[in-house]
């Protein structure tokens, strides 16, 4: 009994420690306080600064466009790659698996540095072209799409595909109507992962981005060094909005995928 209670207490304490900073910041984002600890008065000032600041809105839009754009390209590339590798000879598949694994295990700093050194130092490309940034983000994301599609291909019932061919479907129709639906969950979770990875990235972005472009990560890091308190506290509002979006998304996902038990096994 004591063991059970102390176990529960430990879990609750850990949850409090994890959420205290986020929730405290969310609380203070609705006040005029410029630092935590002061006794605040209620205000929506931070939210209006956030919405009316062109610089902040552009930065957020840029981050989202980059994340979704790169995730789309990464999903197409990664899915096609997984399909190709799956139907190729063993040594081709092994080679692709190995190369695909490099960005996964590699430190983001090294990935960013290496992409940057290839495109900028060797090929003399301009960062202002956004090409290095987009390539960097695809290198970061595509391997994870590949990794989430491969298991689905392996689980796939290959006799369905053969049956479709026997019944007269052309190979491309069979691929579209039989294979694609079976690997769709892998493609979707790969896409979601790609978006999250790109949104969260700091290192690859900082090595490859044009000087005037910022994502949320690079912007926040610069803002914490700067002395503009209204920007600093507007970021608290942004953090709160993201937190709420994440909570809503998780709740929807949980209700949508009622089969929590199955999910558990999937992990």
């Amino acid at each position: 009994m004591i063991k059970k209670i102390s176990g529960t207490a430990f879990v609750i304490l850990a949850l409090i420690l994890v959420y205290a900073p986020i929730i405290l910041l969310a609380f203070y984002s609705f006040t005029e306080a410029t630092q935590i600890g002061a006794i605040p008065g209620f205000s929506m000032k931070n939210y209006s600064t956030l919405i009316h600041s062109e610089e902040l809105m552009d930065m957020i839009k840029g981050t989202l466009v980059l994340a979704f754009g790169c995730a789309v390209i990464a999903t197409i590339l990664g899915t096609l790659g997984a399909l190709g590798a799956f139907y190729s000879k063993k040594y081709v598949e092994t080679g692709m698996n190995m190369l695909n694994q490099v960005p996964v295990v590699n430190a983001d700093v090294v990935t960013g540095f290496s992409v940057c050194i290839l495109l900028i130092a060797v090929f003399g490309m301009e960062k202002e072209s956004f090409f290095p940034l987009v390539i960097g983000h695809i290198v970061l994301c595509a391997p994870f799409v590949y990794l989430s599609v491969v298991p689905r291909l392996k689980q796939m019932d290959s006799s369905l595909y053969e049956a479709a061919l026997d019944l007269g479907a052309s190979p491309s129709v069979a691929l579209k109507k039989i294979v694609l639906p079976q690997i769709a969950p892998g493609i979707i979770s790969g896409f979601a992962l790609a978006v999250t990875l790109s949104l969260d990235d700091y290192f690859i972005t900082s090595y490859t981005k044009p000087a005037t472009f910022d994502t949320i990560s690079t912007y926040v890091v610069n803002a914490t060094k700067g002395s503009q308190t209204d920007i600093k506290t507007a970021l608290w509002a942004l953090s709160t909005i993201i937190f709420v979006i994440v909570v809503i998304a998780v709740v929807i996902m949980n209700i949508g995928g009622r089969s929590g038990k199955e999910n558990e096994k999937d992990f």
Binding site: T8, F10, V11, L15, V18, P21, I22, L24, L25, Q35, I36, G37, L77, G78, L80, G81, A82, L83, G84, Y87, S88, V92, M96, L99, N100, Q101, V102, V105, N106, A107, V109, V110, F113, S114, V115, C116, I117, L118, V122, I138, V139, A142, Y146, P171, T196, D200, Y202, F203, S217, V220, V221, T224, L235, W236, S239, I242, V246, V250, N254, G260
Partner: protein, 266 residues
């Protein structure tokens, strides 16, 4: 039919080309730069410079100590959490696991900002405890990555082995030490992998918490801003070797695991 088989394989060509251009080629470029000097001649000067300069060696040691302490703290907090949650009879325990993972989806710079504000209130001036703050920051950032793989291993663990151990007379603690802990080792290894390597290079956490000491990540950046591609490549290469070593070691554990599972099936 034959023509088509060629077709299906061809789907992989764009990605294969992409991997060769932007994953393999950069690696080759890094190795090339690491072992040449500014004039392009082959040289071991960068290698020698790395291992003789007190600056770089100091950075390596500091990075490793931050990574070791962060990993230990994450293990000490994460393992009991994963264990308690995996063994809990609660119906909705999956929701609680999700709650520990959820912060992962909030941009880490924003999470560290939140942590920084709290630490500033508690400590007054962050500059007094740079090492401690860094460890707190890294732990805050990476704890979910530690909990998740350990939880997965523990929840899928064959409970009958524990019951057998108890039936054969082992105590609760002895069963944990001799049965549960070794069986959950693969989860520990992948958790350690996911925490150790990033905490060697995530210099943003140090940056944001006013720790001005360099770690391996910031060291690459300092060469980069000085346009010293050769020195920077050497640092990147050293990191790559460390990562490779880690991957090989953890790969071995995974294979052991597979063998064991195969053995169990027989």
């Amino acid at each position: 039919m034959k023509a088509f088989h060629l077709n299906r394989k061809q789907l992989g060509i764009p990605y294969a080309v992409f991997l060769i251009c932007f994953v393999l080629a950069p690696l080759i470029v890094i190795i090339h730069y690491a072992f040449t000097d500014a004039s392009g001649a082959v040289s071991l000067a960068n290698l020698k410079a790395f291992f003789t300069s007190p600056n770089t060696i100091g950075t390596l040691v500091y990075s490793i100590s931050i990574a070791v302490v962060t990993t230990l703290v994450c293990l000490l907090i994460g393992y009991p959490l994963a264990y308690i949650l995996a063994r809990s009879k609660m119906k909705k325990k999956y929701t609680i696991v999700l709650m520990f993972v959820m912060p992962m989806w909030i941009n880490f710079t924003l999470r560290i900002t939140a942590l920084k504000e709290i630490l500033t209130v508690i400590e007054g001036n962050l500059a007094f405890h740079p090492f401690l703050n860094t460890i707190i920051g890294m732990t805050y950032d990476f704890l979910p990555f530690m909990i998740l793989p350990m939880y997965t291993t523990l929840i899928n663990l064959d409970r009958s082995l524990e019951e057998a151990s108890r039936d054969l007379g082992a105590g609760e603690f002895q069963t944990f030490l001799k049965v549960t802990l070794p069986l959950s080792f693969p989860g520990i290894v992948s958790g350690v992998m996911m925490v150790f390597l990033p905490s060697m290079t995530n210099y943003v956490v140090l940056d944001m918490l006013y720790n001005s000491t360099y770690i391996m990540g910031s060291l690459i950046g300092s060469y980069f801003s000085a346009y010293d591609w050769h020195g920077g490549s050497m640092i990147a290469l050293v990191l790559l070797v460390i990562i490779l070593a880690f991957t090989l070691i953890s790969g071995r554990f995974e294979e052991d695991e597979k063998d064991r599972k195969g053995g169990a099936l027989l």
